[in-house]
Symmetry: C3
Subunit: 468 residues, 3 copies
């Protein structure tokens, strides 16, 4: 018995399925290039065993605990830490049982696909998870995790990861990246520059962060010019640890291209906490353009991840803090929002700006038309709630006709769930092959060309776009 169908995610129709299978056979074993994600570099640095199954699969995975919470199960019962650092349920086995009893809630979700993939492919399980098999699962996975071949580096190699990027703040000392380097281990783990903490006037502790930023870089970050120079130096420092990209998570896609004088004025207000919300937003928007200009100089690829309404529930934010499954997508406009940035640097062929969205309606209407003409603009893959079979299929259906395949950049797993990485790349490869097979079956693309595109989407485009 198997948890996974060998032909999963391929179209049901026999000829198309066979085409999809053929395309997939050629790309399924390609190395994983993971140019954007949130795994913890400490794992690779220390190479210690992962904790128990509950703390590997349930407690840290917001996809998993938000679904359980939506059906009335408290975060405390799942061992999800409270804002004050305390924890409700601490017995991993109890947490696991609760998860197993409610595993039916995940029917039809990508979490189910990722979890079953990990259970079968990483841990060799072949009976479905349920209340009845909960303990068997727990003990088996727990025993595995104690073995050396389930340590982070061993799994990294087994997963065939060619390169993976983590994401750090400019205030991070990159000690784990340093430790990886020193260790002599051959795994390619690079950082990425995510400057929200020193770019967003509304970020907690912004002024203090900027002071610390000055200390780290030896720049006078109280002046606008010194602050920009600090970014330049810190980006160079990140590049030493392999960074090829920056990442920007703003509430909207707003960009600005202010005069130096106006930017300096807003920066000064930001430092003393006197920006209005509108001014803070303008400053964030302007900093995207500054970052793009620096990218033109230092070659870092720029990523923009806009459109999440963070921590939607006030009560849950107080009780459990940030990142507890309460981030909700919002409608996002790009045509007007990106214009200042695109007017400044959009026609530079040497620059790469990768835009993501949580608003699928913008794909066919705004993002594909923009990426289909501006040389600097590329489309990131289907993201977050849309990193799913239907989401990925809609992504191709809504972007390909206007932007083609070559204004997209392959797949990002964007995850902190280490064991799900092969599952996520496998889903992306299968869905893309299914899409290409449909094009072939419907006489819209030749089979040989489809094979080339499958290879591009699974491997080459990510390497190329992210310069990895």
């Amino acid at each position: 018995m198997a948890l996974l169908d060998e032909d999963r995610l391929f179209p049901a129709e026999a000829r198309t399925r066979s085409l999809a299978r053929g395309l997939y056979e050629e790309v399924k074993a390609l190395p994983i290039v993971s140019p954007h994600g949130h795994t913890d570099p400490r794992w690779y640095a220390e190479d210690e065993a992962f904790p128990d199954p509950a703390r590997l699969f349930v407690t840290p995975d917001h996809y998993v605990f938000r679904m359980l919470f939506s059906q009335g199960i408290s975060l405390d019962a799942l061992g999800v830490p409270r804002a004050d650092g305390s924890v409700g349920e601490t017995d991993g086995r109890e947490i696991w049982r609760l998860f197993a009893q409610n595993y039916h809630l995940f029917r039809g979700t990508p979490s189910r696909l990722w979890l079953d993939h990990s259970f079968q492919e990483v841990f060799g399980l072949d009976v479905p998870l349920s209340a009845k098999t909960a303990d068997e699962y727990y003990e088996h996975i727990d025993a595995c995790l104690k073995k050396p071949e389930f340590r982070p580096r061993a799994l990294f190699e087994r997963f065939n990861i060619e390169a993976i990027a983590t994401t750090e703040s400019p205030l991070d000392d990159l000690r784990w990246h340093h430790m990886i380097r020193q260790s002599g281990w051959s795994g390619k783990v690079v950082t990425a520059y995510r400057p929200d903490a020193v770019v967003d006037p509304e970020f907690e502790g912004f002024a203090a962060n900027v002071v610390r930023f000055g200390e780290l870089t030896g720049c006078d970050t109280e002046s606008w010019e010194g602050y920009l120079e600090a970014h330049r130096r810190r980006r160079a420092f990140f590049k030493e640890y392999g960074a090829t990209s920056t990442d920007h998570g703003h509430a909207t896609a707003r960009t600005e291209n202010l005069s130096a004088q106006e930017a300096a004025r807003l920066f000064a207000k930001a430092l003393v906490g006197e920006c209005t919300p509108e001014e803070a937003d303008a400053f964030r928007g302007h900093m995207l353009t500054e970052m793009a200009r620096m990218s033109l100089e230092d070659g870092l690829v720029m990523q923009i991840h806009p459109g999440a309404f963070r921590n939607h529930s006030t009560g849950m934010m107080v009780r459990h803090g940030r990142d507890k499954g309460f981030d909700i997508p919002t409608r996002t406009d790009y045509v007007r929002a990106l214009k200042p940035l695109l007017d400044a640097v959009g026609t530079e062929p040497g620059l790469t700006i990768i835009v993501f969205t949580l608003d699928e309606t913008s794909y066919a209407r705004e993002l594909a038309p923009l990426a289909g003409v501006y040389p600097a603009l590329k489309l990131g893959p289907a993201w977050w709630f849309f990193d799913s079979p239907e989401g990925m299929r809609r992504y191709r259906e809504m972007t390909t006709e206007t932007a083609g395949f070559y204004n997209t950049v392959g797949f990002n797993d964007d995850t902190r769930a280490f064991c799900s990485i092969p599952a996520r790349h496998d889903v992306a490869r299968r869905v893309d092959c299914a899409y290409l097979a449909t094009l072939v079956a419907e006489g819209r693309l030749g089979l040989e060309e489809a094979g080339e595109v499958a290879h591009d989407l699974a491997y080459r485009l990510a390497k190329q776009a992210y310069r990895l």
Copy 2:
């Protein structure tokens, strides 16, 4: 010859079709649970014969007459009453002929599916409706309607309706519900509490309605506290007549959670007709939160139906009045609009708030992410213009991956067209089975699990969510 294909709405691909058929076989005969709709309780109370075919199928069905009107046929020619109560064409047979001559306009529409289903399954017809068969149809249906087995209660039983909800204003005396109770008939017909007339300051006669509300409940509805108490008492009265839910039809999804003082202030202005549009909107939004709080006390399930621009044509409103097919969906935001309500009560696991939408773009972006985390929030089925094969399919494709199946609540027919009830539930069961069969065929769900979900979607979830 048959009007209906036995395999209608199942996927064309043979294996998937066979899976869909198998799933459907197990649920097609399940009793109908109709937890939200607009049939007239008087039908079940008096159990009199329905009038002629035109007045059963054409004149009262806004789906039908709006399509005919769109092609230049006047509402007068269809016997649709004018605002002053007068009627143009009064000859049912003439209306029917006009309808039959134009039956091709409904090709590809759900109306066509519902009508053919009624013709074949309720009236035993097997030739297509056309100008040629118009009279044959008219006479046959007319003769049927005169027989006892076509009376409302007989059809109710034949349709295998386990429970049906109607919708009444708090100002309704529920006399028909009372009469049903007194009659000793076993059919389960319950009311639902729809307080727009006493909750919306812009509703025609709001102040007078509130006075009447006070008389009916014995509360001092000139005071804010008395007004709230009147709601509590009237909800209790509705519960005596089986109500398990409330229903709220606002122009937007806006909610507010005002202080008692501010709410009382707006209420006082509303009573004297001095609310600005913004204040009226804020008051309506606040009343949703008050209703939710009462639901926490009395257990009524709350339904929110936002987003219709009512009576879009000024001229048609003057000539023919409300509800004449001129309600048009509008873009609707939920993320910010529902936040005050969700901050107040969204994490209460004992509460159920069912949200509907006329803006499909909100499903994957806003509603599934919200329902996939807030325990109090559930997604109503595809509604109104989207209560159709494509609408239902898109609904599942856009909600399942993030909200799963168990944050949805089964099907609502939401209709005043009595004979279409079995047709609508049948369409929903078929489309859901087709969706599930596709998941099975694509290796995304096991067959046994799919069978369980099919049963849940067709029957169990509606009973459970609506506490019927």
Copy 3:
């Protein structure tokens, strides 16, 4: 070997494919009715040979050069003229080679379908275009273009075009249309009235245009009444050259129905360049209602093409001018925007207003519900970026259930790329037949009815809606 699959764009499933093929067989050879487009009437008037392959397929086609530009190829290298009239690359063969080397960029795009169709069906080529075959292609096409059977009129006849509309400004003297008439050639080429230049206060040279408009019509266009009368006369003049329609390309769908006094006031301000942006927008919106009133008098069908953000890149606008692939769709609202117009004339059964959109989210939510009730309103086909297999499929899926087929108007190619006309109509016919075949295969429509609808969509509806 062939460039085109005979069954392209039909569903992969065998039975559905066979149904689609059967439907298509009956409509594929129907004459082309092209009621809206931008071919140059001079071609038909002078009937001179088209220039070289690059200047036929690359330089003038914004779909083609925007994709190449998006991958870093300069417009200069493609011979696209600069704003000052100068041209970079002038060697057609060099341009063609660059195009051929990058032909893989068009995989999965409609441009690829149109181009391959032209190469195979118009020029008889049967090897794929690539760097290797670039010269072979160039020489072959170039040789063809020199032959009489590749002149515009010969191709027009070979393409089986029954009627084609071009689009002219009221300031155009229609000399080419006059010349066509005089020539005695039997091809039906009609004009259409596109008054943006004298209706939009923000149009370059608006005031001077209105003066010229007065000269052409002999009306006092400094007065509001004289200005309206000039429109009436010029519309009549256009009707003499076969016009059956007007066309309006506004940034939004806003309409207004101002008092004559208010309209005259805005007009006076517009003439002296003193309209605020809001006033200019209101004036444009009001002119749609005036045009609709004139349509009621003179029978011209009205077309509204809203929602493009024109010339998005400031830098490219300066360097290369208008219409260089930088028009980007924007979110467009119709429910409130069209209300003034619809309140004024929307229930007139003698009037036809055809609305297009670049915002697909409005189809199911706004446009189908509006067109499904207002007799004057019809839905234009999928437009511009959505004139593609996926766009056309989504169009049918999102409009049919609410508006049916008979509130749509057949296909528009809307192109200036002459050789792509048969390809575009063929794609539309195939995609519509595929959609209809799916309805038949899923038991949602009878086969005979589907055949009738296929004929309507391919031919009859366009003739009827546009009165051609």
